[in-house]
Symmetry: C2
Subunit: 487 residues, 2 copies
């Protein structure tokens, strides 16, 4: 019988973020009631406030998928073993992580069923059935789903056995179209990360050693965490004809020839939430970018004795703001204002609106911004009742921009252009930041650098300096690559 | 190795609905591309057009849940066996249907993990952890999720091994509050079924023999299918303290006493889509109520030779309608108008807008309504370009109302008030409709009626005629109950 509750640490206060990022992170995820540990090893429950973050991610990302021509569908959770193993590299990559159903309806099954670790296999089988002609192409489908990859450790959002994600799967008549799709979706992820989650990223092609099992090319977006480690936040794969050959997805082209389609797949999971939490949080708790915030502004009435006017006014203002489309909550709990301030700061609500008896007379309220330190200039703004919506909109935009700017500054000040091997090894001792080096693109050079430092290639980009040499071997470099420790 | 593709019937034409409802139903689900059979026994894929129906159900239902104070969360897919078996009746009801994970990460597990058939068990454990005080109550949570109940047959939406649903789980300080919640959510389901899916239902309490395993009371909404069988379309359960005792969910009440909470659970699955399809469809295919329609109107340009003006105008009109919030598609495929008409009729799009060269001159278009028979009065409506949005809104409302009215008429004309045992048995021979009888509420009378006719109690309501006697035993009746054959 499993112990109940599972190993969820009891959190009274969150430790300082700078001292131990990992302890701070777990504490804030629990204390802000984003997650709770489940009585199943490796699993967490996404609590309502955490699910509110996921709903905003879903809404924003889904709108971008639809704007680029994709539709949603739903494929089965269980995949027969014989189907999963058709693409050799794919199964080799995923087999060690699979959870197997071997009994159902009180009978032993003849064939084991895998709980999907990802859906290329089952989707490949269906595409083979649906696609006959060039008229059926492209197929542009996304799925929002849960997946399971066997895992005993539990780190909320970053490492769990079951997680929520979306996986896009597309099929195209030509390699060129499929490559375009792969890059288009990478850019959708970059746009979402930067403009919604306010997390700046490096987006680009990964090295061969870091590819998705079965892919021809893997692209990713990479964010930088406060401890100097990179966090891969979404991936987009060009699969070429690897899966269409394994699953026999063919079409009759305009020239009447039967050909195999070219496929892509791309995914973002709730891991993105982990990146957002780590990048923006501070010693007081979460700082949620307004576009991701389940509550954009909380109104705290300051009531003395039996006064009801501030609370009534708070409700009236909240109703007006809701009608204008804002996500607002009135905190009418029987608690002190100080308790409420700390509580909503912990949950990272971007704006707090304080309203007391004096504000009723002046016809204005005070807005307090969560992106600023206490006492910092502009951390408090006054807004007249009749201009509250306008001020709120402006201030939410300002908070969104300021969180992004702070994170961008951190990324830039922790990215180091290096072209000397000794300096590279020195830098890696810090384990801190993205190290941008010229590289010959040979796997053995990558291996040398990795083995001595445990830093890995995150993404590559064009060679920045013509004539630069590889940091590892001194031969002519072909690309620049960001190396970093990673999650 | 499973046969590929699985036993999906090839559909060239759909058979008449009246001749064989079951054959019609399967054919229309496949031909309209709502679903496709997966290579896993008992599973279907929800294709983009079918998923569009599900998205509309989700949006409408989710808004109603939030308006009644609920929040979404996500709980783990896998439940350790020792937790599942804590509520005795519950496990007895579900154990035969469970799929078990016994291997993970290349190891045999010490304890089997159930794939959730429903989530009372895992949620009960979490609520025990979260709820301490009366201040923590009520807890009002909903989950959108996939569940698995072992099943070998496959009937799209109606009977599948894995299905999508939502399950609400709430905890309250008093029995009264929990009972109110149970009835409130039943009414949300009734409202959704009638006003969104345009499916009239009987809503009420079920008899003891038809209760959810572990519930004190089960309520449901029951729709009537064209073959005269009832289809249970959603359920709402008052669980009393059965689960709070099994999972030890206690709170310190205002009087400082520790008490067990009262819980409810309620769910609607994609089965509701099956009801909607059967109720409204006709020999030409689906008829989708506008509020559920992925495409509210399709614009078919009628082009001769190299003309491009109608297509251009179609695109311009579509852009304008989309800006007004309508879900519109332009069919620009290289196919004849006749082919397109049939194709969209099959998919049940509520309105078709035809636009040809003559319409360009007259500055108006023809709208064709899918709820009317061909040639029926009012089946075609003309709309000026500049009044298209207004006309569309009016006509969509008219189609929604007319589909509901047609279904309501069918339900009413197939509901039979009976108070004589012989007449009851005669009626049951028809296997056609809801038979409304006075009943003493004793299980043996229910069993007698069921055993002889295979009709079961669907829902009960107040006794309609004071002094009426039970149709089975002739003793004084206590309630009226709808009996019917059922899915």
């Amino acid at each position: 019988m499993p112990e109940l509750p599972a190993q969820e640490p009891l959190v009274k206060e969150i430790p300082p973020k700078g001292a131990d990022l990992s302890a701070w992170y777990t504490a804030v995820c629990l204390k802000a009631e984003l997650v709770s540990y489940a009585p199943v090893r490796g699993c967490v429950v996404l609590r309502p406030y955490g699910f509110g973050l996921w709903e905003n991610l879903q809404r924003e990302l889904d709108a971008r998928f639809k704007a680029t021509g994709h539709e949603n569908a739903y494929f089965p959770l269980l995949i027969p073993e014989s189907l999963l193993i058709r693409e050799a590299e794919h199964v080799e990559g995923f087999a060690p992580e699979v959870a197997w159903v071997t009994e159902g309806g009180q009978e032993k099954l003849e064939e084991r069923l895998a709980i999907r670790p990802t859906s290329e296999a089952i989707i490949g089988v269906m595409y083979a059935k649906w696609i006959q002609s060039h008229r059926d192409l492209p197929v542009l489908i996304n799925q929002w789903a849960n997946v399971v990859r066997w895992e005993k450790a539990t780190r909320p959002f970053l490492r769990t056995m079951e997680f929520l994600w979306q996986e896009g799967h597309t099929a195209h008549a030509t390699a060129e179209e499929a490559r375009e799709e792969t890059e288009r979706m990478l850019d959708v992820y970059r746009d979402f990360a930067e403009n919604v989650a306010a997390v700046p990223v490096y987006a680009g092609l990964k090295s061969a050693s870091e590819r998705f099992p079965g892919a021809v090319e893997t692209y990713s977006i990479e964010a930088l965490m406060p401890d100097g480690k990179a966090l891969q936040s979404a991936t987009s794969h060009y699969l070429g004809q690897n899966f269409s050959r394994a699953y026999d997805i063919t079409f009759s082209d305009t020239d009447q020839q039967m050909k195999h389609v070219y496929t892509t797949s791309w995914g973002m999971s709730w891991r993105m939430l982990g990146a957002m939490i780590m990048v923006h949080g501070d010693d007081r708790g979460l700082r949620v970018p307004p576009k991701m915030a389940p509550i954009e502004a909380v109104i705290v009435p300051i009531v003395k004795g039996d006064e009801t006017a501030p609370l009534e006014k708070a409700r009236e203002l909240a109703a007006g703001l809701r009608a204008e489309g804002f996500r607002v909550r009135v905190d009418d709990r029987d608690r002190s204002p100080g308790f409420k301030y700390s509580d909503w700061e912990m949950r990272g609500v971007p704006l707090r609106i304080e309203i007391g008896p004096r504000d009723l007379q002046s016809g204005s309220v005070t807005l307090v911004r969560r992106d600023k330190a206490k006492g910092e200039e502009d951390s408090k703004v006054s807004a007249a009742f009749d201009a509250l919506g306008t001020t709120l909109r402006t201030q939410l935009e300002a908070v969104q921009a300021s969180l992004y700017a702070q994170a961008k500054l951190f990324l830039e000040s922790h990215t180091f252009a290096v072209n000397d091997r000794t300096v590279f090894f020195e830098r890696c001792k810090d384990r801190s930041g993205m190290i941008d080096i010229p590289w010959c693109k040979r796997a053995d050079c990558e291996a040398i650098l990795k083995n001595q430092t445990s830093a890995t290639t995150r993404v590559m980009r064009e060679l920045q300096q013509p004539g630069a040499v590889c940091t590892a071997c001194g031969e002519p470099a072909v690309v620049n690559a960001y190396f970093a420790q990673s999650y």
